[in-house]
């Protein structure tokens, strides 16, 4: 479904991502792990269209999206969350979901006036569904900036889902969550996969990655050093060296 080939991003002399190759198949949860600064977020940002790659290509559903800006990759079916949560803080929970929902509908609604003014009942109904799914229905009129940290994470995932993506890029969704919240997230990710959403999960929380993913790619210094199922990766010597060598980078891989 998503194919990344010889993808590179250089910032000056720093090779943040270097000749990276991987494939994510439709319907799987694919993990992307590695010590801090190994190029995971850079990769996510290139796929989402925030950064233009220095070299290489990104193919999604047979379409080249290497140079596509973020709103185009979204319309192609890729939604994302951010490592440091980025909500519309002075808008309510409901508005955060509504604006994302409507933007996603833009490409499908024929009438330009209806498209611009939006507000269809169907859109409002879909917002209700995402409020329920993310367990935020009781907070609908709260400003996003006033939510607790865990709720903000949930809202951000819900907002990305409101775009009805085929593919979800999650950048450290479990950061700062307690074990119970991680378990909840684990369940939600499985529900999403069962609904047919393919997921690329960037994560440091190994309890989550090793549990929920089907396959994992491990990055170190911008290069892929291993790829395989969670159990294969755990036994891989290069992976252990990378994590131990990186010192405080990862925790318990």
């Amino acid at each position: 479904m998503l194919e990344v080939a010889r993808l590179s991003k250089h910032f000056g002399g720093v090779r943040a991502v270097d000749e990276l190759d991987f494939r994510v198949e439709a319907g799987e949860i694919f993990g992307l792990i590695g010590p801090n600064g190994s190029g995971k977020s850079t990769t996510v940002n290139m796929i989402a269209g925030i950064f233009a790659p220095t070299a290489g290509e990104i193919i999604f559903d047979g379409v080249d999206i290497t140079e596509a800006p973020p709103h185009i990759t979204l319309h192609a079916g890729i939604a994302r969350t951010f490592q440091n949560i980025r909500l519309f803080n002075n808008m309510t929970v409901w508005e955060n979901l509504w604006v994302a929902q409507n933007s996603a509908k833009q490409k499908r609604t024929g009438n330009p006036l209806a498209r611009w003014m939006g507000g269809s009942r169907r859109a409002a109904a879909a917002v209700e569904e995402y409020l329920e799914f993310s367990n935020l229905a009781h907070k609908r009129d709260e400003l996003a900036g006033n939510l607790a940290f865990g709720e903000q994470r949930r809202l951000e995932v819900a907002r990305s889902l409101a775009a009805e993506p085929k593919f979800l890029l999650l950048d450290e969704p479990a950061a700062g969550m307690n074990l119970e919240e991680v378990k909840e997230l684990d369940e939600r990710l499985r529900v999403l996969r069962d609904r047919g959403v393919t997921i690329l999960l960037v994560e440091h929380v190994m309890e989550l990655v090793m549990e929920v993913t089907d396959r994992i790619a491990v990055l170190n210094f911008g290069r892929k050093i291993a790829e395989g199922t969670p159990s294969e990766v755990q036994k891989n010597q290069a992976v252990m060296d990378a994590y131990l060598g990186a010192g405080e980078g990862g925790s318990d891989a």
């Binding site: 989402a48 269209g49 925030i50 800006p69 973020p70 709103h71 979204l74 319309h75 939604a79 994302r80 951010f82 980025r86 909500l87 519309f88 803080n89 002075n90 808008m91 309510t92 409901w94 508005e95 509504w98 604006v99 994302a100 409507n102 933007s103 996603a104 833009q106 611009w116 003014m117 939006g118 507000g119 609908r140 009129d141 400003l143 907002r159 990305s160 409101a162 775009a163």
Partner: protein, 303 residues
């Protein structure tokens, strides 16, 4: 009420429209100091249409607005590449460019036994549509407020619609807005175009009630007023801008007239205080929420 009071009613109306022109652009997080330039375009174009071409005020006003919006659309594109202070500087430069254009613009024709039209640095005199057609000061004030009410209502409705949420989303976080599928180029240029149109309307009315305009009317002070209203009033909804225009023009400038130039100091100090202590204006989203709870008005999402 005497003519002076009716004149004040007109001024507050025009300044409300001026503030709303900056409000639309501020919603997307862009600070435009070009509003006075857009006002000047609306003022001169509409003035020339009623004086030289003898149009009615309404089509002249709309055409003035459209002319300003075309220029605003053109300004909107380079504005995409810059933000923050650099955008402020660039839009000031544009405003001055427009002002100096009218300073050098001379186009007069003979009409009966007098010569009319913009005369460069001397200004554009005798924009006499209202007196020639027998409009009283009250008629003009009513006209100003009908237009202001239409613009207020349109923006209030837009705020509650999808378009308003999209503008706000861009103002809150551009990267997040893009990531939910919003095309920044379209939204920012559209905001500039709409803001230019509204400013042009304000200019058209301004030209006709003062009957005499010159380039110095459209200086940085006017641009500052334009952004001061929504900044003071807050961006939660259009009423903040209306309130701020009333407060500045009536309370600070007229009621305290005896204080003379101290009022200018107060105006500056007020803006500094609000920006420091109430960065979201007097009526921020949070304050509006509290006010609504206090007055028992229903929730937004029920709309």
């Amino acid at each position: 009420m005497d003519d002076f009071t009716w004149g004040l009613v007109q001024i507050v109306g025009v300044h409300t429209i001026l503030g709303l022109s900056a409000y639309v652009i501020l919603l997307t997080g862009q600070v435009s100091m070009a509003q006075a330039g857009f006002v000047a375009i609306g003022a001169y174009v509409a003035g020339m249409l009623t004086v030289l071409a003898e149009w009615h005020i309404i089509p002249a006003m709309v055409t003035g607005g459209l002319a300003a919006s075309v220029l605003a659309c053109i300004v909107g594109f380079p504005a995409l590449r810059i933000r923050g202070l650099m955008l402020v500087v660039a839009t000031i430069a544009f405003g001055e460019f427009v002002r100096l254009f009218w300073f050098n613009f001379d186009y007069r024709i003979a009409k009966g036994d007098i010569v009319v039209g913009p005369e460069g640095g001397e200004g554009f005199k005798q924009i006499r549509f209202f007196p020639e057609n027998g409009w009283t000061t009250q008629d003009v004030a009513a006209f100003v407020w009908v237009v202001a009410a239409i613009i207020l209502a349109t923006l209030w409705w837009m705020d509650r619609s999808r378009a308003g949420k999209v503008l706000r989303a861009v103002g809150e976080d551009e990267m997040a807005a893009q990531s939910v599928g919003i095309n920044l180029t379209v939204v920012k240029v559209a905001a500039f175009t709409a803001g230019g149109f509204i400013a042009g309307i304000a200019g058209a009315i301004y030209a006709h009630y003062t009957t005499h305009i010159e380039h110095l009317n459209f200086d940085i002070l006017m641009a500052t007023f334009a952004i001061a209203y929504p900044i003071l009033g807050g961006l939660a909804n259009v009423w903040g801008t209306l309130f701020a225009a009333f407060f500045i023009q009536v309370i600070v400038i007229e009621v305290l007239r005896d204080l003379g130039d101290v009022r200018n100091l107060m105006f500056g100090a007020l803006i500094i205080l609000v920006m420091n202590f109430l960065p979201h204006g007097l009526f921020s989203a949070k304050v509006v929420r509290k006010l609504k709870e206090w007055m028992g008005i229903g929730k937004m999402s029920d709309a």
